[in-house]
């Protein structure tokens, strides 16, 4: 690797987020004039250019270039000075290519998928704007630009989940996503304020540079009778933000519901990019998280719980997109576990491979849904491989990648996470995480192939009236599928080579962009073990064995029509129902949060606002008062000149009297 510490071109860097923004603005404001064809051209060209530039940046970064700088000052408020700037290093570069390439594929796919939708141009404006916000999120050089992007992607996620705003369920899901994210964002804001409080700056470099001094002070907060070190407080607060955005238990409930949105955004936002923002943030802030064992343990437990719980829910779901959605939650849990055990590089690696194969699975599911006339229930599919061969093959690649079968992408990254977890010593935390992840692999393989077999094999259960419409999707849909399938097949191998994980012969690709304390680093342990050949068969292929078992079980139960699933559901009715009800998180939240909040809200609305303020103070007092005064003033304007003169003289004497009394 050549180590010329070149600086990247700031014009090129600015162009990467601004091209999609420009496209979004042009199409968003002028969509009606531009018509559909021009609109999708503008957006696709903008994002594809942005992807090409990102690849160029990545190749430069791979050669050792980097960038750090501010472009302009955005906000000045007292001591708080917020510039707009970028920080480009290896971590950012990996994220940039992942985001922009998946976004480009989704843009092209959308041309086919959203064809004929009345909101066609609006949809393109949204997804281009999303790409912009996501790029700001990852390219920024301070917490505030991170937050700007964070909120930007959240907003557009809301708009896109509720894209078909005439469907009530879509609106409810959009609100749910937004509100649950607000809870997480609250933690994020608290964390950001705490950083501002302790460091006096929001700039990454400055905060990271000030860490030794900050740690030396041993700041602590008293939360009631509970003393927390400041670094733990900051990291946990920020991680709560990540839990909202990246759908971690217990804030995961919005992600499955977000499937009400059009499928391209499920692929782009709710699988490949936005939901991974939390993982990116933790990796970006590794210089903070590394110094709080409590926070790392918290991250690990949350990730492991999510990985396991959501995998179990996925076992019984019947909506093709919901299965994949729960799988997304679960895989995000894997990534957080990777961060929690200080294998940030493995987490980002899995993020990248996941973006490919999960984006692929969603788009393939979209192709299926497109084929069966917008039905999403796998109970009404089956034998689709005859009609949709390309979708079938690409989805098979995606399913193998998700299950972690070598040599597909998921194998490389997931295996690395599990290995890292097994060698990192965090007491019961890493033990628990290890077993949760390993059993999760089994569940993942099972539900993925259950969904796959029910869709493409098993018996043909497609309703008669849909049959004539069954056909393979057009090229604009299948070509992105093939690109993503190539990625899902190859990025694991490519990633292991380019990213150089676990780090054979020195540093991994990420270099200094990710900070790991040497005593934490599971990668070093792994490397040592590999060199001394003490990893053992179990460690190396345990996950694959679990995955194959899961696939085999799915094959037995679902490849051909069979009565086993129904029998099993009957044998464990309570468990089956519990999983089908998604662990009853929604019901729990409904009764302890939503209902009380609604009741309070209704009372405030009806009694406090409408009755007391509107009718009482505003209407009774102010509006009536002003209306009466206006009428009186109008009546005083009689048109009689002597009345006017009288008013003048009275006014004069009034002022005279005031003057006289005042002195």
């Amino acid at each position: 690797m050549v180590t010329t510490h070149a600086t990247l071109s700031s014009v090129e860097l600015l162009a990467i987020p601004l091209l999609p923004l420009l496209a979004a603005l042009v199409v968003g404001l002028g969509g009606k004039v531009l018509k559909e064809q021009l609109s999708h051209w503008i957006c696709c060209v903008g994002v594809i250019l942005s992807a090409l530039l990102s690849i160029h940046i990545f190749s430069q970064v791979a050669d050792g270039a980097s960038f750090y700088g501010n472009f302009w000052t955005w906000i000045v408020s007292g001591k708080l000075i917020i510039p707009v700037g970028m920080m480009i290093d290896q971590l950012t570069a990996v994220m940039m290519i992942t985001v922009t390439i998946v976004a480009a594929c989704v843009h092209v796919y959308t041309i086919g998928y959203m064809h004929g939708d009345p909101g066609y141009t609006r949809f393109f404006a949204y997804i281009s704007a999303f790409t912009f916000a996501m790029l700001v999120l990852i390219m920024g050089n301070n917490f505030f630009t991170l937050f700007f992007g964070w909120e930007g992607v959240g907003l557009i996620s809301y708009l896109l989940i509720g894209f078909w705003f005439k469907r009530e369920r879509a609106n409810v899901a959009a609100m749910k996503a937004f509100i649950v994210n607000r809870i997480g964002d609250f933690g994020f804001i608290i964390g950001m304020i705490a950083i501002w409080h302790y460091f006096g700056t929001l700039d990454y470099h400055e905060v990271f540079a000030a860490m030794p001094v900050f740690l030396a002070h041993h700041y602590a907060l008293n939360l009631g009778s509970w003393e927390v070190s400041a670094i733990t407080f900051i990291c946990v607060a920020l991680f709560i933000g990540a839990m909202g955005k990246s759908a971690q238990v217990p804030l995961h409930v919005w992600l499955p519901d977000s499937m009400e949105g059009p499928t391209p955004i499920s692929a782009l936002i709710h699988a490949a990019t936005m939901v991974t923002a939390g993982i990116f943030m933790v990796a970006r802030l590794s210089p903070l998280f590394e110094f709080s064992d409590t926070a790392l343990a918290f991250v690990t437990i949350t990730g492991a719980l999510t990985a396991w719980i959501c995998a179990t829910i996925g076992l019984v779901q019947n909506d093709i997109k919901r299965v994949i959605a729960y799988s997304t939650c679960s895989q995000l849990g894997y990534m957080f576990v990777a961060c929690g055990v200080s294998a940030y590089g493995a987490g980002i690696f899995h993020l990248m491979t996941h973006a490919w194969f999960k984006g692929l699975l969603f788009l393939a599911a979209g192709s299926v849904i497109h084929g069966v006339m917008a039905d999403q229930d796998i109970r009404r599919m089956g034998q689709l491989r005859k009609y949709m061969p390309i979708t079938y093959i690409t989805m098979l690649i995606g399913a193998l990648a998700l299950s972690g079968i070598p040599p597909f992408a998921g194998f490389w990254s997931k295996d690395l996470i599990i290995e890292a977890t097994s060698v990192r010593h965090m007491g019961w935390v890493s033990e628990f995480a290890y077993w949760a992840l390993l059993s999760g692999v089994f569940f993942t393989a099972f539900y993925t192939f259950r969904m796959f077999f029910l869709t493409f094999h098993n018996s043909d259960r497609v309703p008669q009236k849909t049959k004539p419409h069954l056909h393979e999707s057009p090229k604009v849909i299948t070509i992105p599928l093939m690109i993503l399938a190539a990625g899902a097949a190859l990025t694991g191998w490519w990633g292991a080579k380019v990213l150089n994980l676990p780090g054979e012969g020195g540093e991994s690709f990420f270099g200094h962009s990710i900070f790991v304390l040497p005593q934490h680093n599971p990668m070093i342990t792994l490397e040592v073990m590999e060199q001394s050949h003490t990893t053992g068969l179990w460690l190396e292929s345990g996950a694959v064995i679990f995955a194959l078992t899961g696939i085999a079980l799915a094959w037995i139960m679902y490849f051909k029509p069979s009565t086993i699933p129904a029998k099993m559901a009957k044998s464990f009715p309570a468990l089956h129902q519990f999983l089908l009800d998604k662990w009853r998180f929604d019901e729990l939240y409904w009764s302890i949060f939503v209902m009380p909040a609604r009741n309070i809200g209704t009372w405030l609305w009806q009694q406090a606002d409408l009755a007391a303020i509107d009718k009482g103070i505003i209407h009774g007092g102010i509006i009536n008062g002003i209306t009466v005064a206006a009428r009186k003033l109008r009546e005083m304007q009689t048109g009689m000149v002597y009345h006017y003169a009288y008013a003048m003289v009275i006014g004069l004497f009034g002022l005279l009297t005031w003057l006289a009394l005042g002195n």
């Binding site: 209306t627 005064a629 003033l633 006017y644 006014g651 003057l659």
Partner: protein, 488 residues
């Protein structure tokens, strides 16, 4: 041959009065030449008058080197403040004259009309430069008499004559009150000159105090009448409604510029000694004016009457700048007047365009229903201008209010500024109501806008200025501060 000895020497620095002389000559030229113009060519008189105002601007700027000088034995002063005030006055006058062309097309003797505007402009330019009670009175009368005639211009329209007569009677009353006040001031100080009065008032003891108070109050009332400050505002709605619409546009802005300029000079030069006494009076006037203007406007159905109350309301806000009684406040008033000029002229230009067949005059607020469907561009311009009048950021009107409110707050009048803020909320109602008519209601019957390229230019210029000043108010505010150097 014996030399004729004139009792006074030839006045020095006569050049500073050249713009006024030019306007006076041009006024008479327009008057005479128009006798020979056929009715269908009376637009020539208009363009002459407009170009006279336009040509006065370079003449005025050419005197920039003479800043601070006086002529006619101290009656007439030219300073940066006067130059700036005259600039915006001349700009207003150009707008008003150009707006009249289409309106006056069918009128006979339109030459008189344009000459009268020029005479009114002359009076107002003298008001701006007046440094002496005599000059002050004479210039105000010159302005007032011309405007009376302009209001009555449509002789055959009863409403017009009635309005003019009322205005004349009440104006005479106000002049009488002011003259009476001047006599008190002269009686106490023995001076006509503002600065001399200012110096003399500092030495007035307890005995003369009451006379000074009465004199001050009466003169302020005379000025308040010109500004339409309540309770001396009652002529305003009637006169605005009765006058031809271009005259309404003219008199809603130009005399306010002149009267505010004169007011500021009078307060700064003649009355600094009684500042603590006049501020409460102005505060009372401002409160009452804001209340009357913003509340009474709500009950109006005629847009010209509504804009009359709107003017009253804006005068009330601008008075805050005088109450602040410092450079920031006076600069705020100048900023206010500049932005107000564009807002009001733009609105009136659109109202004048709203004339169609069958006596459709666009004078009722209802007439604007559904404008956005028929004429979206005009509707947008009107909406922007109205939002600006309501003081919505980031349009010019917001900064106008901001400038005077902030000055009042920094001078310690926090409560007054808060009340003003509340009244601007009330005021927003009637502006937004018109926007509601424009955008959300269905057109009622025929809707016509007479297209006219000169008017389109005025609407465009005004709207763009309101938007641009809203986005970049800095240079204007800086300019207004510069204009006060030497005065305060």
């Amino acid at each position: 041959m014996s030399k004729i000895s004139f009792p006074y020497p030839f006045p020095e620095h006569l050049s500073i009065i050249v713009p006024e002389m030019f306007i006076a000559v041009m006024a008479m030229t327009v008057l005479l030449w128009s006798l020979f113009l056929p009715k269908e060519k009376n637009y020539i008189a208009a363009w002459m008058a407009a170009s006279a105002c336009a040509a006065a601007i370079p003449l005025l700027l050419s005197q920039a080197g003479a800043i601070g000088l006086t002529t006619f034995y101290g009656f007439f002063i030219l300073d940066a403040f006067a130059v700036y005030a005259k600039l915006i006055l001349l700009l207003t006058s150009i707008f008003a004259i150009v707006m009249s062309i289409d309106f006056m097309k069918k009128e006979a003797n339109a030459g008189e009309y344009y000459a009268m505007i020029l005479f009114a402009v002359l009076g107002m330019m003298f008001m701006i430069s007046a440094a002496n009670l005599v000059m002050m009175y004479l210039s105000m009368e010159l302005m007032a008499l011309s405007v009376y005639v302009l209001v009555a211009y449509q002789r055959e329209v009863v409403r017009s004559s009635e309005a003019a007569l009322k205005y004349f009677i009440l104006g005479s009353l106000a002049s009488g009150i002011m003259l009476y006040g001047m006599s008190f001031l002269y009686g106490v100080t023995g001076q006509f000159d503002f600065q001399a009065i200012g110096i003399a008032l500092q030495g007035v003891g307890h005995n003369g105090h009451l006379a000074v108070m009465v004199g001050m109050l009466f003169v302020i009332v005379g000025l308040a009448f010109k500004l339409s400050a309540a309770p001396f505002h009652m002529w305003t709605p009637d006169a605005y409604e009765g006058a031809p619409t271009p005259v309404t546009a003219f008199m809603s802005v130009a005399p306010k510029i002149a009267a505010f300029a004169l007011f500021i000079r009078f307060l700064v030069e003649a009355l600094p000694a009684v500042q603590h006494e006049y501020i409460p009076i102005l505060t009372g006037l401002a409160l009452l004016t804001m209340a009357v203007g913003n509340i009474a406007a709500i009950a109006q159905r005629n847009i010209k009457r509504m804009l009359a109350y709107s003017t009253i309301g804006h005068v009330g806000f601008a008075l805050l700048g005088l109450i602040a009684a410092n450079a920031d406040g006076y600069a705020g008033v100048l900023t206010y007047l500049t932005i107000y000029l564009f807002m009001n002229m733009g609105i009136f230009a659109i109202i004048i365009l709203m004339r169609g067949k069958d006596g459709f005059k666009g004078e009722l607020i209802d007439d604007y229903a559904g404008m956005s469907q028929k004429r979206p561009i005009y509707a947008l311009a009107m909406a922007l201008l109205l939002l600006s009048l309501a003081g919505i950021p980031f349009l010019g009107g917001f900064w106008a209010k901001y400038a005077v409110f902030i000055a009042a707050i920094e001078a310690g009048h926090v409560v007054l500024a808060l009340i003003a803020l509340l009244f601007s909320v009330v005021g927003a109602f009637y502006y937004l109501r018109i926007i509601k008519y424009i955008y959300f209601d269905q057109p009622r019957g025929e809707f016509e806008i007479s297209d006219n390229s000169t008017m389109q230019v005025i609407v465009t210029v005004c709207t763009i200025m309101v938007v641009v000043l809203g986005l970049f108010p800095g240079p204007l505010m800086e300019l207004c501060h510069q204009a006060l150097i030497g005065l305060v």
